[in-house]
Amino acid sequence: MIVADKKPIEEIIEEIRDKKRVLVLGCNECVTVCEAGGKKEVGVLSSALRMYFLKNSTETRIEEKTLERQCDHEYLEEIRDIVDQYDAVVSLACGVGVQFMAEKYHATPVYPGVNTCFLGATEERGLWTERCQACGDCILAHTGGICPVSRCAKRVLNGPCGGATNGKCEISKETDCAWHLIIERLKALGRLDDYEKISSVKDWSTDRAGGPRKILREDVQ
């Protein structure tokens, strides 16, 4: 899922301090699972903002709502009748939701309330780690199901590099060396011979490098 983290409240205050009526808009999907932008976080943020503005005698009204998703037209439509009452929206959705809001409600300023960080999984409560870089051309079949593009700091496709120590990456003792993991996995699968297969240069045109990406499925249109 998309993993995000709350933005510092000072940053949010800075953006909306001159607004009179603000809607804090949460999302019930990824940001709820990573406890950054769901109904609960909307509540906490709104409370804190109200207290701040009250203390500073500012006439800013904060209201709350949480949508099922902010990346689908049908859910964003739900606020069509009320959006004009606000002079700003603080969206706690991921970057996608924030932008979809901006596109849909052209005349309403929208500010991000979270930093969208990566595609990842919940390793345990409170710990999310990156797994995918959305390169657009998945090579997991060749690396035992472990991705060197997202989990190797140098995205080497014929690893490991010379810097790994005790199975950890040179950048941090807490970061696993992806190639160490791949080798262990190939061993477990009885496929260590695959290690010597040469990965040829990657086609990065399906990655960010190729420009903003799009998928069109005419069969479902």
Partner: protein, 78 residues
């Protein structure tokens, strides 16, 4: 107030509570209300006198910090 660490009837409710109080303290500090207005104490349900003592300590602390800034603003406005 939470039970002594290790004695929670719900196993870890008091640990979670402590972490949430710490979060609340950070937020209150950032928005200028004062992080010290929220505190976590651990004691057992049988320690009545200790409870009273803690309550009094907190009262003294808050008196020293002064009224909630929001209250002051509301008073001024009135």
């Amino acid at each position: 107030m939470g039970c002594m660490e290790g004695d929670c009837h719900f196993n870890s409710g008091n640990f979670r509570a402590r972490k949430r109080i710490e979060q609340a303290q950070k937020i209150l500090e950032t928005i200028g209300i004062g992080g010290q207005r929220a505190q976590m104490y651990n004691l057992s349900s049988s320690e009545g006198p200790l409870f009273a003592q803690i309550a009094f300590e907190m009262y003294e602390k808050i008196k020293e910090m002064g009224p909630n800034p929001i209250k002051m603003v509301k008073k001024k406005a009135a």
